[in-house]
Symmetry: C2
Subunit: 398 residues, 2 copies
């Protein structure tokens, strides 16, 4: 009586598996600045709880498997504003972007089929593919090139007869990359020429800085039948705990597959859909001050890290992450050491080691992902602590 | 560019796929009595919304992947009351029992592994196994024997070297069966002797009638390392829309696998866990009047159906379903006809065809599942309409 081989091979989240060390530090009375996880400190818009509190619910019943229609309509309206031609019926509401990604992989892939993913990638893609025995083929991108995509030929040569789709997040987690229009159109061209689906994880869409914009795959007319959009309220509206996302596509077979998955698990949580509709109905200007706030935070963090001895980091244009190459023997060891053995004035910093954001072996061993989701004064302090930690760490390489 | 073969082979929910016919009927102004779906009309206890409304939440953050500890503790306390030796750490909160079942299957089974399931079974087990390419081997049970389990030898002969677990719901959906202690202990014996896991779906635990009790697999000492409990607030507290359930096991490998799945999708919805804790903290006497109410409803429904010409039905002891053998050519055709072509005083009845609750072919073709989740006066009326429908149906076989 053993558990399955596939569950045995699955990873614990490299973002979350160090939490016991953080909890132990907190028990010792140490304050931990969490740069390891994309949990924004931005207040969830009050309309969310207001809508839920005002809902008159005697029986908290299953919702429609496809989701609550008023929310689906508000999502369609939102996509029309960003130039995507979606109607209510092109959406199915999911339990976060996580569920949408799982469905996208199983809808497009049979056993041992392959998906192309630029690496480093959101590490939980591993957890969404492994149970379905789908393989990730990495398109390796590099920190010193700002994680730009390689040229078309380098991507095409990775395609096999088992390749079913290209999945990518834009803006990128964990890299903060915002792909150029040329890169987005190159992916579209490759998908068309090699008959692939495109799984576009665009949950950070509004978080682009320096005047940049992320080109949504939802706006590309000539691949509209191959694009599967994955989205979420988590980051967009600082409502991670709502677990409301969606899968959207103009491809009827894809949406039939999504409906089958949706009906199996009955429905998404009813109250959270009521709250989420209020979020999508916010004035689109809602994002402007938040975008500015994140941009300032990014600059606080990057400015500080650029000055640290031996740290290599580029200023990313999107999301709220950056990957830093650290002057340490191993970023995971360093992260654990920061939590277990280091403190400055009773405080320390938690970062996420990046090794498991790569599918390729022996990459990112000294890289960490840092999320700039704290307020500026905390980021200033966290950077000082990180700098001191890097100087004190026994495994430092400079 | 085609969707996957496995998604193509998956079913649309036989419980939900006839909803478009029901919606069309409603558009024509017809009132539909829903006996097709286990959506109770019992009021959700007010403590659920009260706890959520009183929660002070500025940032709706991700919860711990394992769930909100106070809810896990309340679940452990609940299990202690029913005789299960579970601690807080033996629980991971899931998005409904649905997610817990998916995880149980992938934690125990690799590709083409098999699970034994008494049929007819909750049809969504198909949707929880097909994406993982796990097979269901049915243990056929029969209406005229009250869906009792066959003898040990008949079950053992279904076991192959690919069999990994026995999954069963007790009390049973769709049958309403409550297994005897002898049946439960026989399953435990088989699991021990053939080194199998037991996936015990006990979401209807409190709904046993005529003084019967469901023996929980959580109370069996000698198989505690092989039992995986799946549970949910949906039916227990009439909170289906909360989508809060759990997976619980004393087996550390199982719970490590569950943690991997949990971390991948980050967390269950935060607010709903706050509400669910208030439900588990209700006085255990909460169930008494509800159990009585369901028993009366059961009797209203069964008494009426026993009198209908050509209908074969047994009085089930648990859950809130019964399977009726109908005097019709095909139960799905009949269900559609009831929604599309029949009405009595502007009203009709929706039932769930049972064919897809069987894994064996050509079984249950004239059977329907009826959920007695409506108040007695509605059930009386629904029964009259069903009787009239059966008499008028062109495909009747008597």
């Amino acid at each position: 009586m053993q558990t399955s081989k596939r569950i045995g091979k699955m990873q614990l989240s490299p973002i979350r598996r160090l939490i016991p060390y953080a909890n132990a530090a907190k028990k010792r009375g140490i304050k931990v600045f969490h740069l390891n996880i994309g949990q924004p400190d931005i207040e969830t818009p009050k309309v969310f709880m207001k809508a839920i509190k005002e809902a008159e619910i005697d029986v908290l019943a299953y919702a429609d498997s496809r989701g609550w229609d008023p929310l689906r309509q508000s999502m369609a309206d939102y996509y029309k504003r960003i130039g995507g031609d979606f109607e209510l019926e092109d959406f199915i509401i999911t339990n976060g972007g996580s569920e949408a990604l799982q469905w996208a992989f199983v809808i497009t892939c049979d056993i041992d089929d392959e998906i192309l993913v630029p690496e480093p990638f959101y590490t939980n893609y591993n957890s969404f593919t492994a149970p379905f025995t789908v393989s990730i083929t990495p398109i390796t991108t590099q920190a010193d090139k700002g994680f730009a995509l390689p040229d078309e030929a380098s991507i095409v040569e990775l395609i096999t007869d088992r390749t079913r789709c290209i999945a990518l997040s834009n803006p990128g987690n964990p890299t903060g990359v915002v792909y150029t229009r040329e890169e987005v159109e190159m992916i579209a061209k490759i998908a068309k020429e090699h008959d692939l689906f495109i799984i576009a994880d665009e949950v950070y869409r509004e978080f682009c800085y320096d005047g940049k914009e992320a080109v949504s795959f939802a706006t590309l007319e000539d691949v509209k039948d191959r694009v599967i959009i994955v989205d979420s309220v988590s980051k967009r509206f600082s409502a991670c705990g709502a677990r409301i996302g969606c899968i959207a596509s103009k491809n009827k077979d894809v949406m039939l597959g999504a409906l089958k998955m949706a009906q199996g698990r009955l429905s998404s949580p009813t109250l959270e859909m009521i709250g989420a509709k209020a979020l999508y109905d916010l004035d689109p200007n809602y994002f402007d001050p938040i975008r500015e706030r994140y941009q300032r935070r990014r600059d606080v963090m990057i400015d500080a890290m650029e000055k640290m001895d031996g740290v290599m980091i580029k200023r990313p244009a999107g999301a709220f992450y950056a990957i830093a190459s650290l002057p340490v023997d191993n970023a995971e060891k360093f992260a654990i050491w920061m939590l277990s053995e280091f403190e400055q004035d009773g405080k320390t910093v938690m970062v996420a080691p990046v090794e498991n954001f790569y599918a390729s072996k022996n990459m990112g061993l000294n890289e960490a992902r840092l999320a700039y989701v704290l307020k500026e004064e905390d980021l200033h302090e966290a950077m000082k602590i990180l700098d001191a930690g890097l100087k004190a760490y026994p495994g430092r390489t400079i």
